[in-house]
């Protein structure tokens, strides 16, 4: 006799670093159906953006996500610059590219550690996170910050790259590239990793396209689509690089794709540093943006990032929409999970590199200009007790 049991996964769960809920229907050890419920980290950023000036919005956009903060601000500044019809100096474009790629390296190292943790390979987790310190140090050297780099301004970047910093970055990324080659070898050789990743979380090419997956998840399903190559922004039209694809359609391919992307990023950074144009790094821009409708796309470490801006001739946007890669991959994720084992849930979820706080930004309440009102702890606690009694 088979019976279907419902298992909740999250919002609080050690495999998820952020709060999100997946309701699984399982039959024995197999997953039959899954329903995602997002919104636990919903901060109402989209609504809040409409109440703030473009300068203030820049800071808010930076805080959509902790890991890909630079990708979001690049997308935002590009949109606003296009609306203002401003051309950013080439040097600023190159610096943006360098930070974007450093961020990608950081993200992929971070992700590899998480994947190792999900399959219980603690040693690989410790090693990758140790090496991640190198790239964080480089970013700190460059921007002054380890996570929220705040490098972008509307009309350019905030800090310049001096020759000393440049040589330090060169040295750092060399180490990072070599280490990643070593990790890639481990991930393609080690029996236990292969046992947990090959043929796990299958997303066929056809499904990947029809479910609109993005980023490394899509490229691991053998679709050559990368915003950097297709719709070049910053300095990507001048820098040669390969778009990495794998045709395994499983978690092992996703690991390999990201490993190769790091190696590719190292080359991009080297090229950009060697060909860094001279000149200023910023232009002065007006605070008022003429009416326009702009779509800006950026290849964030996790995939395509799309921002939509509608300005109305004031210093505040009329509508600003953010679509982060995780939301795009969520439907594809559900497809991957169905038919798999319960024990594979964490690794499959981690496989798309989810960032739930990116995904959950949209609209809501907590943000208010003049007073903080949100729910204080006590009120929230009472509400929680009441809610659960009803259940």
């Amino acid at each position: 006799m088979s019976s279907i049991i419902k298992i909740p996964f999250g919002p609080q769960h050690p495999a998820l670093k952020e709060p999100e809920n997946f309701m699984f229907k399982v039959d024995g050890e197999y997953v039959v159906d899954v329903t995602p419920r997002i919104g636990y980290a919903h901060r109402g950023i989209e609504k809040a953006l409409e109440d703030r000036t473009y300068i203030q919005d820049l800071y808010l956009i930076e805080r959509i996500c902790g890991i890909c903060s630079h990708a979001h601000t690049t997308c935002y500044t590009q949109a606003v610059e296009e609306a203002l019809k401003v051309d950013v100096p080439p040097r600023a474009k190159y610096i943006r590219t360098i930070v974007t790629e450093l961020e990608r390296i950081h993200n992929h190292y971070f992700w590899l550690g998480i994947v190792a943790h999900e399959i219980g390979f603690e040693t690989l987790f410790m090693y990758t996170w140790r090496d991640r310190e190198i790239v964080m140090d480089l970013l700190e050297l460059l921007s002054g910050n380890r996570v929220q780099y705040a490098m972008n301004m509307i009309g350019g970047v905030r800090r310049d790259i001096t020759p000393e910093i440049s040589s330090k970055i060169m040295k750092g990324v060399k180490v990072l590239g070599e280490r990643m080659k070593y990790y890639k070898k481990i991930c393609s050789d080690d029996k236990t990793i292969l046992a947990r990743s090959v043929n796990v979380g299958i997303l066929k090419t056809k499904d990947a396209i029809s479910l609109c997956a993005v980023g490394p998840t899509l490229r691991a399903s053998n679709v050559k689509r990368d915003v950097r190559a297709d719709d070049p922004y910053a300095a990507y039209d001048e820098i040669p690089f390969h778009v990495v694809t794998y045709d395994g359609c499983d978690v092992a391919s996703r690991i390999a794709t990201r490993c190769d992307e790091v190696i590719e990023s190292v080359e991009i950074i080297r090229y950009a540093l060697e060909h860094l144009p001279t000149g200023s790094i910023e232009v002065i821009v007006s605070r008022v943006v003429p009416p326009a409708e702009i779509i800006s796309r950026v290849e964030a470490p996790r995939g395509e990032n799309l921002h939509y801006l509608r300005s109305n001739g004031t210093d505040k946007p009329s509508r600003y929409k953010v679509r982060s890669p995780t939301l795009a991959n969520l439907t594809a994720l559900c497809k991957m999970l169905i038919g798999g084992y319960i024990a594979d849930i964490p690794i499959v979820i981690a496989g798309i590199d989810p960032c739930f706080c990116c995904m959950d930004r949209l609209t809501f309440v907590d943000i208010n200009n003049d007073e903080t009102w949100g729910w204080e702890g006590e009120k929230l606690r009472r509400y929680g007790i009441k809610w659960y009694k009803k259940q």
């Binding site: 298992i7 769960h13 050690p14 495999a15 050890e29 190792a116 943790h117 999900e118 399959i119 219980g120 390979f121 603690e122 040693t123 690989l124 410790m126 090693y127 140790r130 080690d190 236990t192 990793i193 046992a195 947990r196 084992y341 319960i342 024990a343 594979d344 849930i345 964490p346």
Partner: protein
């Protein structure tokens, strides 16, 4: 008469009895943590005591002082009894292991069977603990622990029969005594040693077989609901299990306290025990976690036939 009684009492309570075993448990937890940490390029325990030596003890004390929560829906009696079971079982088994000389505190014909039986009862207690706490994650963890036991127990028992067959005894002490005259069994039965090592990794629920406690899948597995004093006792029990596993390996395959006469037998035992525990820790740092179905398949497909092969080899080859 009185003197003998006092000595045997001291032996049971202090050395090599309770006090020594518990101290050894704390020490080997430190060895385990520190060694794995160094392999993983971390520092491990650092601040409490010299090189963090007292950290496991400090953790124990800290947990003792923490709030002890019993879930509302739990079976309170069983839930409270399980930590005590789990603490006393490995201690009992350890009394059957010869430590200071070639005769253990408790030694009788058939104590090997008792020790194997106790390792099974430990898993059953784990299951009872998981079941009585009524947590979903605990239940899944407990089920997994039992399922895992069904896999590893049979090859482990078969492999352990190897030394017993050769020494023609079912007493651990006599197996150890046999090895003082003959060869160590690791030399004649290396396959059995490897099988027992792998099975103990599963028994101790260490990576790559920490499936019942897989943090990212089932939180803390069967341990999820335990807190405060109970968790402290359970952690101590786990350390004792580690010592037990190392001692069984050292006794059955490395000759227990036997060694050259320039050092007392007890020191030889400690050295061998440390080696065995380092083997168990070292393996932990090398692998990722298997899935339960992969473990079962591997155990039934490879380990059990290999264990049988070892027994056949023992029968065929005279030593």
């Amino acid at each position: 008469m009185v003197q003998e009684a006092i000595i045997s009492l001291l032996q049971i309570v202090i050395f090599p009895g309770f006090l020594f075993l518990i101290l050894a448990a704390f020490f080997y937890e430190w060895v385990d943590r520190k060694f794995v940490a160094r392999l993983q390029n971390r520092y491990g325990p650092l601040h409490t005591g010299p090189r963090g030596l007292l950290q496991p003890f400090a953790d124990f004390l800290k947990l003792l002082s923490k709030e002890d929560i019993i879930p509302y829906a739990a079976d309170k009696l069983l839930f409270s009894a399980v930590p005590i079971f789990l603490l006393s079982l490995p201690l009992t088994a350890l009394f059957c292991i010869p430590i200071i000389n070639s005769t253990a505190l408790i030694s009788f014909e058939g104590d090997l069977i008792l020790v194997i039986f106790i390792t099974t009862i430990i898993v059953i207690s784990v299951f009872i603990g998981a079941w009585s706490s009524t947590n979903r994650f605990s239940t899944v963890g407990g089920m997994r622990a039992c399922l895992q036991m069904l896999g590893y127990e049979i090859p482990m028992t078969i492999a352990m029969a190897g030394p017993a067959i050769v020494a023609k005894t079912l007493s651990i002490s006599k197996i150890v005594q046999w090895q003082t005259t003959g060869l160590w069994f690791i030399l004649t039965q290396p396959l059995g040693f490897i099988i027992v090592t792998i099975c103990f990794l599963a028994e101790l629920q260490k990576i790559p077989f920490d499936i019942p406690k897989a943090e990212t899948e089932v939180v803390a597995g069967w341990l999820t609901e335990f807190s405060g004093k109970k968790l402290a006792l359970l952690r101590l029990a786990e350390d004792l299990e580690l010592v037990l596993a190392g001692s069984i390996m050292a006794s059955l395959y490395l000759g227990g306290p036997a060694g050259f006469s320039f050092m007392p037998p007890f020191v030889w035992f400690i050295i061998k025990l440390t080696v065995c525990i380092l083997i168990l820790s070292n393996l932990r740092a090398l692998f990722a976690r298997f899935r339960i179905d992969q473990l079962m398949r591997g155990v039934w497909k490879y380990l059990t036939p290999l264990a049988l092969l070892q027994i056949i080899l023992v029968e065929l080859i005279p030593w």
